[in-house]
């Protein structure tokens, strides 16, 4: 265990003291995100939202309600069937879909609380954060005019995930994958260099077990991979508000598996490459 730790620390020191490696591993992917993020986020500033409106109630009060929505300048209202509008939301053509449910007028007339459902994609945080308060405000105003202080209309929030993601949302997982791939493949470069410089042979002349050596390099690279992935995700979140869909646990699993896969490939390549000069083209080919 002591040997293992010493090797791990030695690896880390070797790595940290190489400025170029630090740059390519940590800073380069982040530059990548920043640059592409800046390029692709230009179209985000329009304030008009495509909102789908479905009226399933034919009462006058429902008609009034829909007229009020139509007057909101920030909304571009598209009236249609529930099914079509939700499909449009999922395709990314709507930011939200409002549904005035059946029995809306009747419920209010009877003094009950009527429902308006709003469907939206929670991952589109930036637009949802603007859109939902507007809808809520409109409904509150309408409600107050209708009944004074008693709440008669309830906004029923329904979340739906759309398939549409911003370019940056695609980009981050891509960069993450690319970075892990690079890490895994290039991680074997030091091994090839060590072999070339006979460092491996020298280690072979000590009682050090090969398994200890290999496991320590693999663990070291996993640690680097996790740090790298964390950095990419943090920057993506902080700067571009890229949402995290799905499970953190799975993500960690994929990072580990991905790194191991590419490390394995890297090791395989390293056995073909006699020296660093022949290794690089091999990696590029992959």
């Amino acid at each position: 265990m002591k040997t293992f730790n010493m090797l791990l620390v030695a690896n880390a020191k070797q790595f940290v003291r190489e400025k170029a490696a630090l740059f390519w591993t940590f800073l380069f992917p982040i530059f990548f995100i920043l640059i592409f993020g800046a390029v692709f986020s230009g179209g985000m500033d329009n304030v008009s939202f495509n909102v789908g409106l479905v009226i399933e109630d034919d009462s006058a009060i429902a008609q009034n309600m829909s007229d009020v929505f139509g007057q909101v300048t920030a909304f571009k209202i598209n009236e249609g069937q529930r099914k079509d509008e939700i499909q449009a939301l999922q395709d990314g053509d709507r930011r939200a879909v409002l549904v005035i449910e059946q029995g809306f007028g009747a419920t209010i007339a009877q003094g009950g609380t009527a429902n308006i459902s709003v469907y939206y994609d929670p991952t589109q945080t930036s637009s949802v954060q603007i859109l939902l308060p507007i809808v809520q405000k409109v409904i509150d105003n309408f409600d107050r005019a209708l009944s004074g202080s008693i709440t008669r209309i309830h906004l029923d929030e329904q979340t739906l995930q759309s398939h549409e993601l911003r370019a940056i949302d695609y980009l981050v997982p891509g960069i993450l994958a690319m970075a892990l791939m690079q890490l895994g493949l290039f991680a074997v470069a030091p091994i090839v260099v060590d072999r070339e410089n006979k460092v491996l042979k020298r280690l072979g002349a000590t009682p050090l077990k090969r398994s200890t050596m290999i496991v320590s390099t693999v663990v070291f690279n996993l640690i680097v991979a996790v740090i790298q992935a964390a950095l990419i995700i943090i920057v993506a979140r902080l700067v571009f508000d890229v949402p995290m869909l799905g499970n953190w646990f799975y993500l960690a699993g994929f990072i580990v598996l991905g790194t191991l896969t590419f490390l394995a490939m890297g090791y395989m390549l390293s056995s073909f490459a006699k020296n660093q000069q022949t290794l690089m083209p091999l990696i590029m080919a992959v």
Binding site: K2, T3, M6, L7, A10, K13, Q14, R17, E18, N197, K198, V199, K201, R202, L203, G204, A205, T206, P207, L208
Partner: protein, 305 residues
């Protein structure tokens, strides 16, 4: 005397080249044993088989009574190894590399004492890539001593070093011997073998052609001394052999070496011959025969072409 290394009928071939061709020898406790031969003679291959990092085709090797084939790890735990080329972890410091290597062994010597021994105290925080050639070589010797081994293997430890660094390393090796350790060293420097080694094995084309104390090897093959000179015109070997007292003649690129058991007679006869034939003798000097001469006599060529 107790043998710490026993090698019997060792063979190793690469394709159709016999790198090691039936080699047998012993290294005894507390001695410096040298293997002398030109590059490619099989020195390094032999050494690496004994160290357990290369496998022999056949033959038997035991180190400290342990069969290398059966338990190479146990052998490696008890020996210290320095390889020919040594560039180690360029971005680790001297001390860090030493500590790392110490962690590979169940027991280790004091790192600070070793650093002192190899005279790297002022550079112990230096990164390895910033060390000079001599310092790197000394570090690799220190690394070979990190487990306090009973047998030390040094593969051309002074190759490519300046004379001062070479002398430094020689005195370190002698110090190691004074601690009762055995040293197995390969070299292609005659001077090194003659000055440092208690016993020398001369090896050529994968075979040991002579083993003994350096002085004994010389006196066995030469009762004569060597007279060396340059000639202004070429003379046939027969002419020189006919000179009084000459027992052997070797000519190489205008340089002539004649061996004689009666130096004054031979020198005056040579001078007479020169006057008579009208040529000049230059750079003439007389020296004792060396291992180089032994190698020349046994193989017909010099160790370094």
């Amino acid at each position: 005397m107790k043998a710490v290394i026993k090698v019997d009928h060792l063979r190793k071939s690469y394709k159709d080249i016999k790198a090691v061709n039936d080699i047998s020898f012993r290294v005894y406790e507390g001695e410096i044993f040298g293997m002398l031969g030109p590059n490619g003679a099989g020195k390094t291959t032999t050494m690496e088989i004994v160290e357990g990092i290369r496998k022999a085709d056949s033959g038997r090797v035991t180190v400290l009574g342990i069969d290398v084939k059966k338990d190479p790890r146990k052998v490696k735990t008890n020996i210290g190894v320095q390889l020919q080329t040594t560039s180690l972890y360029p971005r680790l410091s001297v001390r860090e590399v030493m500590a790392l290597f110490a962690s590979f062994y169940p027991r280790s010597a004091s790192i600070d004492k070793l650093i002192k021994l190899v005279d790297l105290e002022d550079s112990k925080k230096k990164r390895c890539k910033n060390l000079s050639g001599g310092q790197q070589q000394r570090l690799s010797i220190a690394l070979a001593l990190v487990n306090n081994p009973k047998v030390l293997f040094l593969d051309e430890p002074t190759s490519g070093l300046d004379p001062q660094s070479r002398h430094n390393i020689w005195s370190m090796i002698e110090y190691v011997r004074s601690k009762g350790k055995s040293v197995f060293i390969t070299t292609h420097y005659m001077e090194e073998a003659q000055r440092l080694c208690d016993r020398v094995a001369i090896i050529d084309y994968g075979k040991i052609i002579a083993t003994d104390k350096p002085d004994k090897l010389v006196s066995q093959h030469f009762q004569e001394e060597a007279i060396q000179f340059e000639l202004s015109q070429k003379l046939e070997n027969d002419v020189l052999s006919a000179v009084a007292g000459v027992t052997n003649v070797v000519q190489e690129n205008g340089k002539v070496t004649v061996y004689s058991s009666a130096v004054p007679v031979t020198v005056s006869a040579l001078l007479d011959l020169a006057k008579q034939r009208g040529f000049e003798l230059t750079n003439l000097y007389v020296r004792r025969a060396t291992l180089e001469d032994v190698f020349l006599k046994l193989t017909g060529r010099r160790i370094r072409e």
